[in-house]
Symmetry: C2
Subunit: 183 residues, 2 copies
C-alpha cells in the first residue's frame, strides 16, 4: 500500500466534498491538472484501491437508471490525508516542456527565427496567464467564499508565475531586437 500523489489528489477532492469519480476528474480539470494531471482511467482504479484499503467508503447515489457512486473519506482516510499534508517528503518535481527545450537549442537558428521562437513562447505564457485569470481563478474564488481558500492561492500563484514568464520573455525579445540593431 504505497500511495502516490494521485491517491492524495483523490483523497483531497473527497475531503472537499467532491464525491464521484467523474466529478473528481471534472474538478481536477479546472484546478489540479496544472501541477498534477490525471485521467478517468486513473481515478476509477484509484478509488477502488482506496476502498479496498479502507481509506474511502462507497455509497450509492444512483438516480433512476443512472448509476452513481458517492464516495467519502473514512476516518482512516482522513488521517492518512492529514499525515501526508504534514509530511515533508515529496517525489521530485518534474516538468516536461517542449517549448523550453526548443529555446535551449535555439543557437542553431538564425537571429530572426530566434526572435520568432521567443515571441511564440511569450504568447503562450500570455495565453496561459489569461486562461488562468479568466477561467480558473473565478472558480477558485467561488470556493474561497465558502471558506476553502487555498485553491485560489494556488490559482493566483499560477497566474502570477505565467505573468512573470511573459514579462521575462518580453524583456528577452527586446534584448534580441537591440542586439540586431547594434550588429
Amino acid at each position: 500500500m504505497t500511495l502516490r500523489p494521485s491517491s492524495y489528489l483523490v483523497l483531497g477532492m473527497l475531503r472537499l466534498g467532491v464525491s464521484s469519480g467523474y466529478a473528481i476528474k471534472q474538478a481536477a480539470d479546472v484546478s489540479t491538472r496544472f501541477f498534477c494531471p490525471t485521467s478517468l482511467a486513473q481515478v476509477y482504479p484509484e478509488l477502488a484501491q482506496l476502498e479496498r484499503e479502507g481509506l474511502v467508503r462507497r455509497g450509492d447515489d444512483s438516480q433512476g437508471g443512472r448509476v452513481r457512486h458517492a464516495y467519502e473519506l473514512t476516518s482512516k482516510g482522513e488521517s492518512v490525508l492529514l499525515r501526508w499534508l504534514h509530511s515533508e517528503h515529496h517525489a521530485p518535481t518534474q516538468v516536461r516542456d517542449e517549448g523550453v527545450l526548443r529555446l535551449f537549442f535555439a543557437d542553431a537558428l538564425q537571429a530572426e527565427d530566434q526572435r520568432a521562437l521567443v515571441r511564440r513562447l511569450r504568447e503562450r505564457a500570455r495565453a496561459a496567464k489569461a486562461h488562468m485569470r479568466a477561467k480558473i481563478l473565478p472558480l477558485a474564488e467561488a470556493a474561497e467564499k465558502e471558506g476553502v481558500g487555498y485553491p485560489a492561492v494556488v490559482a493566483r500563484l499560477g497566474a502570477d508565475s505565467y505573468a512573470y514568464a511573459e514579462r521575462w520573455l518580453a524583456r528577452l525579445e527586446e534584448d534580441l531586437d537591440g542586439d540586431e540593431l547594434s550588429d
Copy 2:
C-alpha cells in the same frame, strides 16, 4: 517514425558536439533535466533508433579496451532538428509537483501548519534558485563564451522563476502571519 521530445534532446546535444550516450546523459543532468528529464535507458535505445532512421551516424571512439561510440548528426538529422526548431507544435506542457498539490489542499491544516507548509515551499524554491545560480548557470556561461548562448538564457529564466516563486511565497507567509495577528 515519430520523434518525441527526447529524440530532439539527443539530436540537439549531438549538434552541440556532445557525442556519446553517456556524455549526453551527463550534459542533460546539468541542463535540460529541469524541463525534459531523461535516463540512460532512454538515451541508448534512442540513439539506436535514430541511427536506423539515418538521422545520426555512429563512429568509433574506443580507447584501448574501453568501448566508446561517437555519434554525429547526418545532414538529414540536422534538417529534422532544424525543422523541429522552426515548428510551432509541441506536446502539452506538463508539471507534476507534489508540493503545490499539498498547498492546494492546505485548508485541511491548522493555521500554524499552513504557515509551516508555505515556509517549506519557500525554502524549496530558495534552494532550487541557489542551485541554479551556483551549479547550473556557471556551466551554461562557459558555453556562452564559446558562442552557445541559449543554455545560459534558459538557466537564467529558471533561476529567475525560482526567485520569483520564493518572493511570492514569502509574501504569502507574511499575509498568513498578518491574518493570525488580526484574529
